[in-house]
Symmetry: C2
Subunit: 222 residues, 2 copies
DNA sequence: GACTGTAGACGTACTTAGTACGATAATCAA
DNA sequence: TTGATTATCGTACTAAGTACGTCTACAGTC
């Protein structure tokens, strides 16, 4: 017992999924291989197959773990505020795990955490008094926006301001031809400016959607 | 010349990209392999490498071809109408090529068609009188929504009404436990109804965003 | 304390997929 | 014709997922 406890902490599905997420965060999904994962855990590839069904299943678990990190809409807030808070939290989590966004929707089997989120979101929309059809619309619309924004944000050339300026510089040079005047203008006069942040657009769109959703709820109530 | 024209139509990058898109549309990205593509074209794998740099580059070309299929915002329409038309067209094209959505943003090198789209969109927003920062917001917000919606729509279990009802049925049964009352209600009383279509939510959200964008433009003009 | 069953760990090897390399065939210019 | 350029393709290497069977360590029984 002592011997084994010293060397390795005992493998488990949870530990494997955690390690996989760490690896994906660090070096991207494409470098998450079963062999690399085994190395990282100090074990051999085939050992992992005793805890996880296969790589596809591992990806499912990883996605579910990401959902677990998002805040559920709080029942204590006004329903619109609760929606805003959960959407912001969702985006924040997705951007921290950029690899997860394309996976979110392509996984066929919904995990328990995903179901909890759906349920909580629907309950919040219900609190706002939305009938079923508007509930469905509102949820589809909000999630589309949050996923889409995160998808774009997660794939920006670089997070650090330096590299982004570098890339932008190339783009500007390439556009000096004059074929893309608007792009050139936007890049040089806006994107390359010190304070620029793509993420700042998130709230803008979110408020538009929330305004639309609450306006429709009031119509209903009237 | 006659001999060769009979047997095979002469390989070209264009033909290869077209075939790749056809294959991906039919059986999904994961079954698009270099070997399968070569078979489909009646040639050998390595032949393709004389027209395409490698698989990654092939994916880039495929994405650019998808962009080429989308309508640009028409300069003849009112700017808001032009935005609406181009967003609808974008969604329609993306849903026809479900494999493309996760790729759109992950491709690092923007193709010529993508640049044309960006340029045309920015020009349209400029027509609306938006200053640079609002232009950037508006574009980011619209594209996020369109991509996100398409991402969700492209990954629905099935397009045909039959299979969707089948899946929904399982879900309802699984939720009979009572752990997910809202989900159960939404599924059984709304999603499973005959006329239901996820896609119908698209215009709802799009109008919210367009309303928000044009309202902000008017503020500016005032 | 020896015996045995079970679960976890792992070595080996098969399969699929991308693609480097070099040889061969086809096209075209001079 | 001839040389050069271009296209085609056969072979083989590498990376990655994973099936199969073995081995080890510990649990519980006699």
């Amino acid at each position: 017992m002592t011997d084994q406890a010293q060397r390795k902490v005992k493998l488990s599905r949870e530990r494997i999924v955690d390690a996989a997420i760490t690896l994906a965060d660090q070096s991207g999904l494409e470098s998450l291989t079963i062999r690399a994962l085994a190395d990282h855990l100090g074990t051999r590839p085939m050992t992992l197959y005793h805890h996880v069904d296969g790589k596809e299943s591992l990806l499912d678990w990883m996605v579910d773990r990401v959902f677990a990190q998002m805040e559920l809409p709080s029942p204590d807030l006004d329903w619109i505020d609760a929606l805003r808070q959960r959407c912001r939290s969702t985006r924040a989590v997705l951007v921290e795990h950029p690899w997860s966004v394309p996976l979110l929707e392509s996984r066929t089997s919904p995990g328990p955490e995903l179901l909890r989120h759906h349920e909580a979101m629907l309950a919040t929309l219900d609190r706002g008094g939305l009938p079923l059809d508007r509930m469905a619309h509102a949820y589809a619309v909000l999630d589309s926006y949050v996923y889409g924004f995160s998808l774009q944000e997660a794939n920006l050339p670089a997070q650090g301001g330096e590299q982004i300026a570098e890339v932008a510089h190339e783009v500007v040079a390439a556009f000096a031809s004059g074929a893309y005047p608007q792009l050139a203008r936007l890049t040089s006069e806006h994107v390359m400016r010190p304070g620029y942040s793509f993420g700042s657009s998130f709230d803008v769109g979110l408020e538009m959607l929330l305004a639309g959703i609450s306006a429709r709820a009031e119509e209903e109530g009237a």
